[in-house]
C-alpha cells in the first residue's frame, strides 16, 4: 500500500500548490501578469502564521485567518503601489517589476530577521489513521479539509456574488466592464486580495505540514504553483486546482520511485511539455492572436 501512501502525500502537497496556483491564475486571468511576488506572499503568510502560533499563542484556525487577512492586505498594497501604474505598460516591464517586488520582499524579510530557517511549532499531536494499509496523518486530512473548504468558498465567491461576477466580467473584457459601470480598479484589487489570502493560507498550511520555513521558501513553490496554473490552463480556476493536485501527485511519484533529487526538475519538464504540446493547458481556451 506504498502507492496509496504516496498518493496521499501527493495530494497534501498538491493542495498547497493548488491554493497558490489559484492566486496566480486569478491575477493572470484579470490583468495578464505573472505575479512573481505571489510566492513571497505565500512565504509571508507562513511567517505570519508562525508568529501567531509561536509568539501570540493562537490556535491553528485563528492563525490561519490572521495570515489570510494580513496577506490580503499585503496583496492589495503590492497591487496598488507597484502594478497599478503598469496596466498599460509592456508585458516585459510588468514582469520585471513583479520580479523586483519579489526580490524586495525576500530580502526585506532577510534584512529584518536573517536568513535562518524557523521551525514551526507543533500544535497537534501526530496521530494517523490506518486506511487500507496506508498511514494517513491527521495533518494531511486537516490540510485537505481546509483546502476543500477554501476552494468551495472561492467557487461561491466567483460564481454567486456580485464581486465574483465583476471579476469574471473584468477578466473577459476590462473596457466593456468599465462601460457597464463596474469599478475595474477595485475589482482588480479584490482579485489580488482573494488570491493573496489563499497564498497566505497555503503558507500556514505549508509550515504546519513541513514544519520548516525560511525567507526564500516561496520561490520554488511559487514557480511550481505557476507550473500548476499553466498545466490546468491559466485563467481557469478549476484548472488551477486540478493542475496543483496533478503536480503534487507527480512529484510524490517521482520521489517514490527513487529519483528524489530529480523531483524539482519534474515540474519544469511538465511545464515545457505542456507549453509545447498544448499551451492553453487542460482547461484553457484557445485564444486566437489578433493583429
Amino acid at each position: 500500500m506504498e502507492w496509496l501512501q504516496q498518493l496521499v502525500n501527493g495530494i497534501s502537497l498538491g493542495s498547497i500548490y493548488a491554493l497558490i496556483a489559484l492566486g496566480y491564475t486569478m491575477v493572470y486571468g484579470i490583468i495578464k501578469l505573472i505575479n512573481f511576488a505571489h510566492g513571497d506572499v505565500f512565504m509571508l503568510g507562513a511567517f505570519i502564521g508562525f508568529f501567531a502560533i509561536a509568539r501570540w499563542d493562537m490556535g491553528f484556525f485563528p492563525a490561519l485567518l490572521l495570515a489570510m487577512l494580513l496577506c490580503a492586505i499585503i496583496g492589495v498594497i503590492i497591487e496598488r503601489v507597484a502594478y497599478k501604474r503598469l496596466r498599460n505598460a509592456t508585458r516585459i516591464a510588468a514582469l520585471i517589476t513583479a520580479i523586483g517586488v519579489s526580490l524586495l520582499i525576500e530580502y526585506t524579510v532577510i534584512f529584518f530577521r536573517g536568513a535562518t530557517p524557523e521551525a514551526y511549532p507543533q500544535i497537534m499531536a501526530e496521530t494517523s489513521i490506518n486506511f487500507l494499509g496506508a498511514n494517513i496523518s491527521t495533518k494531511s486530512l486537516l490540510i485537505l479539509m481546509v483546502t476543500i473548504v477554501l476552494m468551495l468558498l472561492l467557487q461561491f465567491i466567483v460564481h454567486k456574488t456580485k464581486i465574483g461576477k465583476a471579476m469574471r466580467a473584468v477578466s473577459h473584457d476590462a473596457d466593456a466592464a468599465r462601460l457597464m459601470g463596474i469599478n475595474v480598479d477595485n475589482t482588480i484589487s479584490a482579485t489580488f486580495a482573494i488570491g493573496s489570502a489563499l497564498a497566505g493560507a497555503a503558507g500556514v498550511i505549508f509550515g504546519f505540514y513541513y514544519t520548516r520555513i525560511d525567507p526564500l521558501m516561496g520561490i520554488l513553490p511559487g514557480l511550481k504553483a505557476f507550473v500548476a496554473a499553466v498545466l490546468g490552463g491559466i485563467g481557469s480556476i478549476p484548472g488551477a486546482m486540478v493542475g496543483g493536485l496533478v503536480l503534487g501527485v507527480v512529484e510524490s511519484i517521482v520521489n517514490a520511485v527513487g529519483y528524489s533529487l530529480w523531483r524539482d526538475a519534474a515540474a519544469f519538464v511538465i511545464l515545457i511539455f505542456i507549453l509545447i504540446v498544448k499551451p492553453s493547458g487542460i482547461f484553457g481556451k484557445n485564444v486566437r492572436e489578433k493583429v
Binding site: 493572470y28 508585458r91 520585471i96 526538475a265 511545464l271 492572436e289
Partner: protein, 312 residues
Amino acid sequence: MKKSKAFLGYSILALVIYAVVQGMIMGGMIDSYYQNILVTMCINIMLAVSLHIVIGVTGQFSIGHAGFMAVGAYFSAIATMEFGLPFSIAIVIGAIAAGLAGLLVGIPTLRLKGDYLAIATLGFAEIIRIVFVNVDYVGGAAGMAVNQMSNWTYAYLGVIVTILVISNFTNSRHGRGCISVREDEIAADAMGINTTYYKVVAFTIGAIFAGVAGSIFAHNFFIIQPTTFNFLKSFDILILVVLGGLGSLSGSVIAAVFITFISAYLANFTETRMIIYSLVLILVMLYRPTGLMGTKEITQMLKFGKKGGSNV
C-alpha cells in the same frame, strides 16, 4: 570610409584600456583583490551583452541565462580538469556546448511568447542546474574543483570578442531582422521575415557568449557549484540589461561595470544590496520602462563617429 575610421578609433581605445590596466597589473598597482573585481566585471559585461542580444535586440524575454552560463562553466571545467586541455580551447568548448544547449532549448521554446517564454526559459535553466546536481562526474551538489586560470587578459579578450560579434550582428541584415521581430513580430512575419529563425539565431549567439562568460567564471573561483547558477543569477543578469536599457549595448556594458563595483563595495551587505537592486528595478520600470539608456547607444549620444550603432 567613415565607419572604418570609427572602427579604428574604437580598436585603439580598446587597446589603450587593455594596455593601461595590464601595465598597472604588471607594475603592481592593482592588487589581486582588484584584479578579481576586474575579471568579475568582464564576466558581467559578457553576460549582460549576451542577454542584451536576446532581450534587447530580439525582444524575447529569457530569464534562464544562468543555465547557459552553467553549461559553459561545466564543459570548460571538464575540458581543463579532466582532459588537461589548454584554457583557450576549454573556452571554445564551453562556448560550443552552451551554444548547442541554446539551440536545443531555443527551437522548442521560442515558439512561445512573452510570459510563457520567460517561464519556459526559467524552467530549462532549472532543469540544466538539476542535471548538474545529479551528475556525479562533475561533483554533484558539492561542486567541482577548478584551477584558477582566468586573468585580465582572457577576460578582456572575451569582452572584446563578445561586443565585436554582437554589435556587428546587430548592425547586419540578421540584426535588423531581429529588431523587426522585437518591434512587431506579426508585421515582421508579414514582411517575409523568418521570425523563428532570427529568434533562434539570436538566442544561440546569446547562449554562446554566456558560455564564454561561464568558462571564464569557472576558472576564476577555484570551485563551481550548481547553486551558483540558479535563477537568482539569471535575475542578476536581467537586472544589468534592464537597467542599462532594453536595446542598448553600451547601456548593458555601463550597467555591468557600474553594478560590479557597487556589488564589490557592498559585498558584506548582501541584503542591503539586494534591497537596493530590487527598489531600483521597480522604480526604473515604473518611471522609465525602457531602462536608463533606452535603445540609444552611448556613441549616438557622444556623436563619436557617424550616427548609428557602436562599432566597438
